[in-house]
């Protein structure tokens, strides 16, 4: 227990430190982009939050698949915890993408393929989180969520390939189309990706521990009810 607390503390401290360094790199190390100007700086953390969202949904997919194969609650906890964090980070991606789109495209939102798939993805994972609390039997809930998490993951490759398969105005970063990254920009982006990945790991560990505590509470409540206590 003490060791877990120490690891959590170290991870949290390192995450904060890396976040501050990444923040400094975005504003003081990365050069001003020629076409979009200062607003292009949104891109570094925008891509990093999208990466964490996608990775979080992949872990939900993986956790769900292993849960279906093993029936081990730990994998269900991993899947659920990761989905919650992934959803928060994808929400940040969507909102900050809109903030970038306004000065870049002249509109906050347009129904082009990448953005449409992102909106569908967001709604699917909001529904996943809402569904988690709505099914009566915990085992049925876990099985249903596992299947749902596997099916919803299809939006991740779809979103990734949307800008390659269809005509879209969304910039293509990996191929370099639409935005030419200098070495300093690439370094800042990679450092931001590493920072947000560490933040994901830190938050995931804490979220898993929360779910385990809730399980412990549910077990105790059941024992309490069976013992005939009714004062709580």
């Amino acid at each position: 227990m003490r060791k877990k607390g120490l690891v959590n503390g170290v991870l949290a401290g390192l995450s904060i430190l890396m976040f501050l360094v990444a923040f400094g790199m975005v504003f003081f190390y990365a050069p001003r982009e020629a076409t979009m100007g200062e607003v292009q700086r949104i891109f570094y953390f925008h891509v990093a939050t999208a990466w964490v969202g996608f990775f979080g949904f992949f872990i939900t997919f993986l956790g769900g698949a292993v849960y279906l194969a093993t029936n081990d609650r730990r994998w269900d906890i991993l899947a659920f915890s990761s989905a919650e964090i992934g959803l928060v980070f994808i929400t940040m991606t969507l909102v900050t993408g809109m903030l970038w789109a306004k000065p870049a495209w002249g509109t906050y939102w347009t129904w082009e393929p990448r953005l449409t798939i992102s909106a569908v993805q967001w709604l699917l994972y909001v529904a996943y989180i809402m569904l988690r609390g709505s099914v009566l039997s915990p085992e049925r809930e876990a099985r249903f969520a596992a299947v749902y998490g596997i099916a919803a993951f299809v939006t991740v490759p779809l979103s990734w390939f949307a800008i390659r398969w269809w005509r879209t105005i969304h910039p293509q970063i990996v191929s370099g189309e639409g935005m030419a990254l200098t070495a300093k920009m690439t370094t800042t982006l990679l450092f931001s990706l590493a920072t947000f990945t560490l933040m994901y790991v830190t938050l995931l560990r804490q979220r898993i521990q929360l779910e385990k505590t809730k399980d412990q509470l549910a077990t105790l409540r059941l024992q309490h009810e069976q013992a005939g206590h009714s004062d709580l």
Partner: protein, 43 residues
């Protein structure tokens, strides 16, 4: 500094902190309830 950039980085800074605080608060609440149940069992 464009306002869009400022708002975006306020979001990037506050949301992860908010999530961490929310997780910690929910865990503390569950731990308090566990402690209360254990106390009532011992009583």
């Amino acid at each position: 500094m464009p306002i869009y950039l400022v708002v975006a980085y306020v979001i990037f800074c506050l949301v992860p902190v908010g999530l961490a605080v929310s997780i910690a608060a929910r865990r503390r609440k569950a731990e308090r309830e566990i402690a209360a149940l254990q106390r009532s069992d011992h009583a």
